[in-house]
Each structure stands twice: as C-alpha cells, then as structure tokens.
C-alpha cells in the first residue's frame, strides 16, 4: 500500500498557504511553550499533535522524518518542527514553524539571562519542574508505544532496537549506533 506523500514545498491539502502558516504558528508557539523535558518529550508532543490529532502526517512519515533528523547535525526536535512546517506550507512554513518553536524558549531564556547578569546567579526555580517531569515520562511512553508499533516491522528491526538500547546503556556512541543499525537492517533485508 503506498502512502500519499506530501511533496516538499507544496501545501499538503487544498488549504491555502496563509491559513496553513497561521495554524503552524499557533501550534508551534504552543509546543514551544509547553515542551519541557528535552527532545524526546518535544517529539512525543509533536507526534500527538501532528499525527494523532491533526493527521497531517502518517506515523510512518513522521518516523522517517525523525530518522532523517538524526542523520543531520543540529537539534532534532527543532528540525522536526522545520520539516513539518516545510511539508505543510512550503518555505514560509519552514521558517514559521521552526521560529515559532524556538521563540518562547528564547524569550524565557533572555529574561533569565537578564536576571543572571543583574543579580549574579540563577533563581532557585528548578523545583518548579518537580511535578512536570513525571508527566513528561507518561507523554513520552505514549509516543514510544505508537512509534514502536510502526518502526518494529519484524524480527530484524526488533532485534536492532533491543541491541541499540543495550549498547546505548553501555555507552556506545549514538551516531555509531544509528549508522550501524541502519546498515544492519539494510544488509540483512537485501
């Protein structure tokens, strides 16, 4: 079964670009504001919003984008936002989605930096995240569950997944694991 693939640079649906861009701005400003917990959490929330809720992408397409961002330098979750923006509304979407995801954090960080320079140290605010972190775990688990259902296509991919987890805990370099995992599946299946 072939999945309909959105062409890069073209809006995915008949929705006019300006409406798509507005949607992207709202979504990624929101995500940029609530996405605590690091890249895994950001990606889990993006999956929830873009794949589950809005169905802009299939889970398979989302996973392919995720794999691709792991292979290029730079922050993965921001790059996911940029990919989604590009697919949804062309180059305008690319710029808007990425910028809107980054913007809330920049504003907050600027405020903290100003206070830091003025008062000489960071405010004692880490405890604010005490209740947020367990919630993030639940959100990420939910996304992992969905991802695993799609990414584990058979015994080979399953074995690679488990091997990567084991080796990552042993401290093997991440990029190495990604490349070897990719090559492993590629060679085994061909």
């Amino acid at each position: 079964m072939t999945e309909k693939e959105p062409g890069a640079g073209q809006p995915q649906s008949g929705v006019p670009v300006t409406r798509s861009v507005g949607e992207l701005a709202r979504l990624f400003l929101k995500l940029g504001t609530i996405a605590f917990g690091g890249p895994a959490a950001h990606i889990a929330m993006m999956d929830d919003e873009v794949v589950r809720k809005r169905r802009w992408l299939t889970r398979g397409q989302f996973l392919d984008l995720l794999g691709a961002t792991n292979l290029i330098p730079g922050p993965n979750s921001t790059e996911m936002a940029i990919h989604i923006g590009l697919l949804r509304a062309g180059w305008r979407g690319l710029i808007v989605a990425g910028s809107c995801f980054i913007l809330p954090a920049v504003v907050i960080v600027l405020a903290l930096a100003w206070a830091y320079v003025r008062y000489g140290s960071l405010p004692e605010v880490l405890w604010l995240l005490y209740g947020v972190k367990p919630v993030i775990i639940a959100i990420v688990l939910h996304a992992l569950w969905g991802f695993a259902a799609k990414a584990v296509k058979g015994p080979i991919t399953g074995a690679v997944g488990i091997a990567v987890i084991a080796l990552a805990f042993l401290g093997v370099n991440e990029i190495l694991l990604l490349l070897v995992g990719g090559l492993g599946v590629m060679l085994w299946l061909n």
Partner: protein, 176 residues
C-alpha cells in the same frame, strides 16, 4: 580570541553545523572553546547556561541565547541564537526532498528502517534515564501513574497534563 559579535556568531554557526546529538556533547563542545581556549565564560557560567537550556521548554540549544547575552548583551543573544539554529533550517531544506526517495528505493528504505528503530532505541534509553531522575518519591510515582492513565486512556492533551503536573508539584513543594 577577542570577544566580538562576529566571532560569537561564527562560533555558534559552527556549533549548529556540526553538532550531532545533544546534552553532554554540547557541554563538552562549548567548554573546550568558550571556557578553556578563549576564556569568554567561566565554568560556572557555562554550567548555568546549560541548566537554563535544559530547564526551559523548547530546544536546549537556547543555551546559546543565554551565553550570547552574558558575553555580549542583547545583540549577542540574538546573533548567537540565529547562529546556532540557522544551519538546521538549511539542513532540513536540503534533506527533506530526499526522504521520500529513500523510502522508495529498496536498499535505502532498509537503511531508513534501521535508523528509525535505532532512533527509537535511543529515545527509550533517554526515557529510562529521565524516569530514574523524575520518579523519586511516592508523589512523583503517583503523578506518573495518573498521567499515564490520562494519556493512554483518555487521550488528554499534553498542555493540560504539563500544567496539571506542574501545579500539583508546586503545591506539594509549598505545602507538603
């Protein structure tokens, strides 16, 4: 190397162009140049900058915004931010059209499948470590369980969960 807006921007363009992964890699990278080679920051300032990037929502690379401000005020903050994020836009624009082609080609599709499942594995590993740091007492474990039920069964939106968890946590810390 003297502090200048040009050097600052160039440095963060470099970081944004070559840094894979996140977290400790970023710390090591920034420390080598900013603290050890050029003395633009102290170790303390760098650690605080990393903490700010981690504590705030959104990308951890906003550490660059903090560093830019400390080193060169508001213009430094803005240029450092632009510098570290700009390469990502270029990489995504360049790689995006290739992805459907990879998916369609027999060999490359296998490679992509492998990379995807490996990414998942890494994500699972990070989640485990996050879990160990986050689930430290009955309150956090309880919050985690409740959140899991709400997410899996009721499909409650992330924003409400984060807000709710945050408020419960703050209440416990203040009154518990």
């Amino acid at each position: 190397m003297p502090i200048s807006l040009f050097n600052l921007t160039a440095f963060f363009l470099k970081v944004g162009s070559i840094l894979f992964g996140s977290g400790y890699v970023l710390l090591a990278f920034l420390r080598a140049d900013l603290v050890q080679r050029w003395g633009w920051l102290s170790d303390r300032q760098l650690i605080d900058a990393i903490a700010v990037g981690q504590f705030t929502p959104g990308p951890v690379f906003t550490t660059a915004t903090f560093i830019g401000y400390v080193v060169a005020g508001l213009p430094g903050a803005l240029l450092a931010t632009l510098g570290i994020f700009f390469p990502s836009f270029v990489f995504v624009a360049a790689s995006n059209p290739l992805i459907p082609r990879l998916r369609r080609s027999g060999w490359a599709a296998g490679f992509l499948d492998g990379v995807n499942v490996a990414s998942l594995g890494l994500m699972a590993t990070v989640t485990w470590q996050l879990g160990r740091a986050a689930l430290v007492d009955p309150v956090t474990v309880g919050l985690g369980l409740v959140a899991t039920v709400l997410v899996f069964w009721l499909r409650l939106n992330s924003a409400w969960l984060v807000l709710g968890g945050g408020l419960v946590g703050v209440a416990v810390k203040l009154f518990g």
